[in-house]
């Protein structure tokens, strides 16, 4: 997996004469200080990151944090004041306008927050736009546009006008328009923020589906951490134009770099990101297959429980033995659990999201067995452990009651 985009020391000063501010930044003065002294506003303050090929990289921050500016520096809709943006080894901040147009036509495509469909063009005419300016023949570009419209589920709508479509459909057109160019990189500027929550989730799923097939490099801007966690392979937190933290969703939730990130993390609906692995308990107690029913009974008695999981030497789950079954076996004179007919229990993979098996957890009378990829029993889930997992903030527990997460 190679590096696709490398952003180095990106600075954007909103001024036609940024030199003074850049100089002061060099001296190590703060953004606030420079604003007070020169009146120059620093939109992006020395941000560096890399995006790997095929990665969904989410840039997350509140409105006004500079995240959209960063995105627009990647295709130079906004000219960076200093720093470099290297895409496939080429520093695009150094390109002449003709070369830049080539890069925009071939490598980068953008999806906009307010869809930005051209109202005087039909869905098809909107979708072909990128290829049209690139000079691809009408036949070829319409063929490719129809393919991408089909891919986003809009086959048959090509002759409609944007005002005949719902918000979700408009953004599908926006997505199709970007995909028709077959770019390596998709830049998505709060692409789903203007949609209803249900449609938003649908579009997120759709994007993830498409991404599995296409394997693009995606830079996704959002202010919604749930969205960031859902679709991001890695997330970059931006505050006041500066990078606060970069990490996987797990790292962001588990080890927030500062209070700012932690505050966001508290607002997360944890059931959406927690997997069974996060909420399971260690598989204790368990009994081995070679143990006899006496051992099983003793362990159950010791822990005050009425059933216990049975595993073999390799920790593969064999089944569940209840106190009743164990008693029967003792009376029958069985010495090894090998000879006892154990209860079969369903198993759940460790990567399953908690929210997906809520009903199962709620209805199950026995603990759920969690297995890893090699079918080994690695944990058990009881109702209490799920609640504990959901309540855990991952941060300082003292904060839990005092503040609730606020999201923009």
């Amino acid at each position: 997996m190679g590096i696709k985009i490398e952003v180095k020391n990106l600075i954007k000063v909103f001024s036609s004469q940024p030199q003074k501010a850049l100089h002061l930044l060099d001296k190590g003065l703060s953004k606030e200080h420079i604003l007070a002294e020169t009146g120059l506003n620093i939109g992006v303050n020395n941000v560096s990151f890399t995006v790997n090929e095929g990665e969904v990289f989410v840039v997350m921050g509140l409105s006004g944090s500079g995240k959209s500016t960063i995105l627009r520096c990647l295709n130079r809709l906004i000219e960076p004041s200093s720093g470099s943006v290297i895409i496939d080894g080429v520093d695009i901040t150094k390109l002449k306008s003709q070369e830049l147009r080539q890069v925009r036509q071939k490598k980068l495509a953008m999806v906009f927050q307010q869809f930005a469909l051209l109202p005087h063009r039909t869905v098809l005419q909107n979708t072909v736009y990128g290829l049209e300016v690139h000079g691809v023949s009408k036949e070829e570009r319409e063929k490719r546009a129809l393919e991408s419209l089909a891919m986003v589920g809009l086959a048959g709508w090509e002759n409609s006008y944007p005002d005949e479509l719902s918000g979700g459909m408009k953004q599908r057109v926006g997505l199709a328009r970007a995909l028709t160019n077959n770019p390596d990189i998709l830049l998505m500027d709060e692409a789903f923020s203007a949609l209803d929550p249900l449609i938003r989730e649908e579009m997120q799923d759709e994007l993830l589906n498409l991404q599995q097939k296409m394997n693009k490099t995606i830079v996704f801007i959002t202010h919604d951490l749930n969205e960031a966690l859902k679709i991001g392979d890695r997330i970059a937190f931006i505050r006041d134009g500066s990078l606060v933290q970069i990490g996987t969703p797990e790292e962001i939730i588990g080890k927030p770099a500062d209070d700012y990130v932690a505050k966001f993390a508290r607002g997360v609906d944890r059931s959406k990101i927690l997997t069974l692995k996060d909420v399971m308990k260690r598989p204790q107690p368990i009994v081995q297959l070679r143990d006899g029913p006496h051992v099983a009974l003793r362990i159950m008695k010791e822990h005050g429980i009425s059933s216990v999981f049975v595993v073999d030497r390799a920790k593969h789950l064999q089944g569940l033995i209840t106190a009743d079954l164990a008693l029967e076996a003792v009376q029958a004179g069985t010495v090894s659990l090998h000879d006892v007919k154990l209860l079969e229990v369903p198993t759940h993979n460790e990567t399953v999201l908690v929210q997906d098996i809520f009903p199962v957890i709620a209805e199950s009378k026995v603990p759920l067995a969690v297995i890893d990829e090699e079918q080994r029993l690695i944990g058990i889930i009881v109702r209490g452990s799920v609640l504990a997992g959901l309540a855990d903030t991952g941060g300082d527990p003292k904060d839990v009651s005092s503040t609730t997460g606020t999201m923009g």
Partner: protein, 280 residues
């Protein structure tokens, strides 16, 4: 106190231009007069009812049968008052002057929209053109292009061009920023941006400017009877000088009818272009 000899400078400038370029102006005047005359003669050959039918059809397409009916009735009144020939004179002048205004004005408007500097330079010039009493440039027009059609067209173009420049400028500047971003993000060239995004979206506003320009053209064409332009204006002028109120009223009514027809027609086109640009 020293008085700035501004008027004298202007006089000297006009004189100097005439001395050095007088012949060129004469040639220009003659050839343009020839063109307009032959256009007028050509139009004169078309039967009056055919012209009414053509206008009615245009009105029907632009807005519907009501306007078509009104247009036919209006034009028939003009024919009935025996004002058909001056009506055609005025019509030709208005169309030529509007056309010249648009050919010069729309590109200027585009330039002004795309360059802030040009916009800043152009604004005071437009203010000047619009607020300077129109009689003032009837006189140099007269000196450069002699009595007649060309002077009238010149003065009319100066007077009627500002709206289409301003509204073209405004229309392009009002194109939503995110749609311009779309153009840039997909790598459009400057001319692709203009033709595929800015002009189509600015079209309703530009059409409103065209409507304004046509209306101003008509009013100026009437006034330019004072420098020898033929047509309805000349009749109004004659009515005034002969104290013939009835004659003045008839010619004036014909002007009003023409104005209403041109206005409703071009407004219909504006509305159609608005409808074509479906607001998302």
């Amino acid at each position: 106190m020293y008085r700035l000899p501004l008027g004298q400078w202007v006089n000297q400038g006009v004189e100097w231009t005439l001395n050095n370029f007088g012949n060129a102006f004469d040639t220009f005047t003659k050839s343009v007069t020839n063109i307009t005359d032959s256009l007028r003669q050509g139009l004169g050959l078309v039967p009056w009812f055919l012209i009414i039918i053509i206008f009615a059809l245009l009105a029907w397409r632009a807005k519907g049968w009501r306007l078509a009916l009104g247009t036919s009735v209006g034009l028939f009144i003009i024919y009935n008052l025996e004002l058909w020939s001056p009506f055609l004179d005025t019509l030709i002048l208005v169309l030529i002057a509007s056309l010249v205004s648009l050919i010069i004005g729309i590109p200027l408007g585009i330039l002004a929209a795309r360059s802030d500097r040009f916009h800043k330079i152009l604004s005071p010039v437009l203010d000047f053109m619009q607020t300077m009493p129109s009689f003032v440039y009837l006189i140099p027009a007269l000196m450069f292009f002699n009595l007649g059609t060309v002077s009238a067209v010149f003065a009319t173009v100066i007077f009627s061009m500002p709206p289409v420049i301003r509204l073209t400028d405004l229309g392009i500047r009002q194109v939503p920023a995110d749609l311009v971003e779309v153009g840039e993000a997909f790598g459009s060239s400057s001319s692709q941006m203009l033709w595929k995004i800015q002009l189509p979206l600015a079209l309703p506003t530009i059409m409103a400017g065209i409507n304004q320009t046509m209306m101003l053209s008509l009013s100026m064409v009437v006034i330019s009877a004072m420098i020898g332009a033929q047509g309805l204006g000349a009749g109004v002028l004659a009515g005034i000088s002969q104290m013939d109120i009835g004659k003045g009223f008839e010619y004036g009514l014909a002007v009003v009818i023409l104005a209403m027809i041109l206005d409703r027609l071009s407004q219909g086109v504006v509305r159609n272009s608005r409808a074509a640009i479906k607001k998302s």
